[in-house]
C-alpha cells in the first residue's frame, strides 16, 4: 500500500480526500476510522437527531464521486505510527504504509475523574453516544448536565423539548461565557430558565451516588441532584496519542504551517480539522486550534491541494492561510450565529437590538473587530463577516 493514508474518517478526512482528487491526485487513498460509520454530520447529535431519533444513515455526508475508489478501513483506530518508516498501526493489527499521511483524528470529550458509579454518565461525541443518550431522555427523566458550553446547552434545550427535568452544573458564571461573554451568556441563560432549565453556576461535582447506576449527583456546596442520566460536556481532548514517539509536539494538537504541513514531521504529513493548530491571516497571533464545524472543510481543502502538489513533485502553495471561523447553535426557537473569534475579545458591545431579543454584538480586541455574534439575526451578520475579512 502506498499513496495517501488519512487517519480519521470524519468531515476533515473526507474533505481532504475530495480536495486531493480535485487538485489532480489520482493515486490510492486509504481512510482509517475508529467508528464503523462512514463520515457523518455531528452537530445534529445534540439537536434535531437527538430529539427525533438518531439514524446515522440520515446524517452521512454526500461523498463526491471522485472519492468512490477510496479504501475505507473503518472500526479500527490507529494506535501507533512510525513517521520515519512511514507506517501507521491500527488496533486490529493492520499496518498501513504511506507516501503521505494526514492526521484528521479530531477530538474526544474530556472526562472528569469523579468518585462513585459511572454507569449513567454519557459524554456526547458519536452517533452511538447519541443513541445511548436518546434512550434515556424520556418524559419525566431527571437529566443532570455537566458543562454549560454549546453541547451542554443544546442538550439541555433538547431534553426540555422531550419532557425531561434539566439541571446544568458548571464552574463558569454564565452559560457559553467563553464564546459569548457575560452579557449574551446571561441573556441565553434567561431563555433557558424560561423553558425550565435549572442552573448551578460557579459549582462543580464532587461525587456520583448510586449502587451500580448513578442516582444522585453531589455538588461542592452540598446540593444533591436526583439523576436518571448525567451528560458530561466539559470540553475536549485532541486525539493525538497514536503519534507519540515521533518527536512531535503533541501538547495542543498538531502545529501546522499555512499549507497544513505538520511542523517538524520527518515525512510528508498534514493535519486538518479540530486537531490542526494553524495560522490564520485574518486573525493574527499564535497558531490556534478552532473546534468549529466549518474548519475541517477549510483546512481539508488546503491540505488536499498540498498533498496533490507534494505527490506530483510540484511546489506547495505556501501563501498565507485565511479562513473565517463560524459557529451556530439552535436552542429552542433561538438561533445563535457567529463569525470570527469572539472568544479573543477584551470588549463586547451590543450594537443592534437588545440581548433579551434579537440582537448583534461586536467583539473587539485592542479596538479591532475580532468577532460578531447574532441572536436571531442571521442575515444582518453578513456585513460584519466582510469587515472581519478586511473588506470593509
Amino acid at each position: 500500500m502506498t499513496g495517501i493514508v488519512i487517519v480519521g474518517a470524519g468531515l476533515g478526512g473526507l474533505r481532504t480526500a475530495e480536495s486531493a482528487r480535485a487538485a489532480g491526485y489520482q493515486g490510492p487513498i486509504t481512510i482509517v476510522g475508529e467508528e464503523s460509520h462512514l463520515p457523518y454530520n455531528r452537530p445534529p447529535l445534540s439537536k434535531e437527531a437527538l430529539s427525533t431519533g438518531v439514524a446515522v444513515d440520515d446524517l452521512h455526508f454526500r461523498r463526491k464521486p471522485s472519492v468512490d475508489d477510496v479504501t475505507w478501513h473503518l472500526g479500527a483506530p490507529a494506535i501507533g505510527s512510525d513517521l520515519v518508516a512511514r507506517t501507521v498501526t491500527l488496533a486490529d493489527g493492520t499496518v498501513l504504509s504511506f507516501q503521505a499521511l494526514v492526521a484528521a483524528t479530531g477530538i474526544r470529550p474530556r472526562r472528569l475523574p469523579i468518585d462513585g458509579p459511572q454507569a449513567g454518565c454519557i459524554a456526547l461525541r458519536t452517533a452511538d453516544d447519541a443513541l445511548q443518550l436518546r434512550e434515556r431522555l424520556i418524559p419525566g427523566a431527571q437529566v443532570v448536565i455537566l458543562g454549560a458550553g454549546f453541547i451542554g446547552c443544546e442538550v439541555a434545550a433538547t431534553a426540555i423539548k422531550l419532557g425531561c427535568t434539566v439541571h446544568v452544573v458548571a464552574i463558569d458564571t454564565e452559560p457559553m461565557i467563553r464564546p459569548l461573554g457575560a452579557e449574551l451568556g446571561s441573556a441565553m441563560r434567561v431563555r433557558h430558565e424560561h423553558h425550565g432549565v435549572h442552573f448551578h453556576l460557579g459549582r462543580f461535582v464532587t461525587g456520583f451516588v448510586g449502587d451500580e447506576q448513578i442516582t444522585r449527583v453531589i455538588l461542592d456546596d452540598g446540593t444533591e441532584l436526583a439523576a436518571d442520566v448525567v451528560v458530561e460536556a466539559v470540553g475536549s481532548v485532541a486525539n493525538v496519542e497514536w503519534l507519540a514517539g515521533n518527536g512531535l509536539d503533541l501538547s495542543d494538537g498538531l502545529l501546522v504551517d499555512d499549507a497544513m504541513a505538520v511542523i517538524d514531521a520527518p515525512c510528508p504529513m498534514f493535519a486538518v480539522g479540530d486537531i490542526a493548530r494553524h495560522p490564520n491571516a485574518w486573525f493574527p497571533g499564535p497558531a490556534r486550534r478552532i473546534e468549529h464545524w466549518n474548519m475541517p472543510t477549510e483546512t481539508g481543502k488546503r491540505a488536499g491541494q498540498s498533498l496533490a502538489a507534494v505527490l506530483s513533485g510540484a511546489p506547495m502553495d505556501t501563501s498565507a492561510f485565511a479562513a473565517m471561523p463560524s459557529f451556530w447553535s439552535d436552542q429552542y426557537s433561538h438561533k445563535l450565529q457567529s463569525f470570527g473569534m469572539p472568544g479573543l475579545a477584551d470588549h463586547i458591545t451590543v450594537v443592534t437590538g437588545s440581548p433579551d431579543g434579537p440582537c448583534i454584538a461586536e467583539y473587539r480586541r485592542d479596538g479591532q473587530l475580532v468577532g460578531v455574534v447574532g441572536i436571531d439575526m442571521t442575515a444582518e451578520l453578513a456585513p460584519y463577516r466582510k469587515q472581519l475579512m478586511g473588506q470593509q
Binding site: N41, F61, W293, W328, K335, T378, A379, A382
Partner: protein, 61 residues
C-alpha cells in the same frame, strides 16, 4: 446543473450565500432563496456552497 435545497432541513444560516452569492441569497425576511438551474461553469462554487451548509441541505446534480 440542477440545484435543490431541502427546505425542511434548511435553517437559513446563509453560509452558502458567501460561496455562491449569485445562486443563493437570504431575502429581506432572512429566508433562503436560490436559483435551481445553474450554468455548469459555476459548479466549483456551488459545490463549495453545498459543502459549507451546516444542515447539509443542498444537493447539486
Amino acid at each position: 446543473m440542477k440545484v435543490t435545497v431541502d427546505m425542511d432541513k434548511c435553517q437559513h444560516y446563509g453560509q452558502c450565500c458567501f460561496e455562491a452569492p449569485d445562486v443563493f441569497e437570504l431575502d429581506a425576511d432572512g429566508k433562503l432563496q436560490y436559483v435551481a438551474d445553474v450554468a455548469e461553469e459555476r459548479r466549483a462554487d456551488v459545490e463549495s456552497a453545498a459543502d459549507v451548509c451546516p444542515m447539509q441541505a443542498i444537493v447539486v446534480e
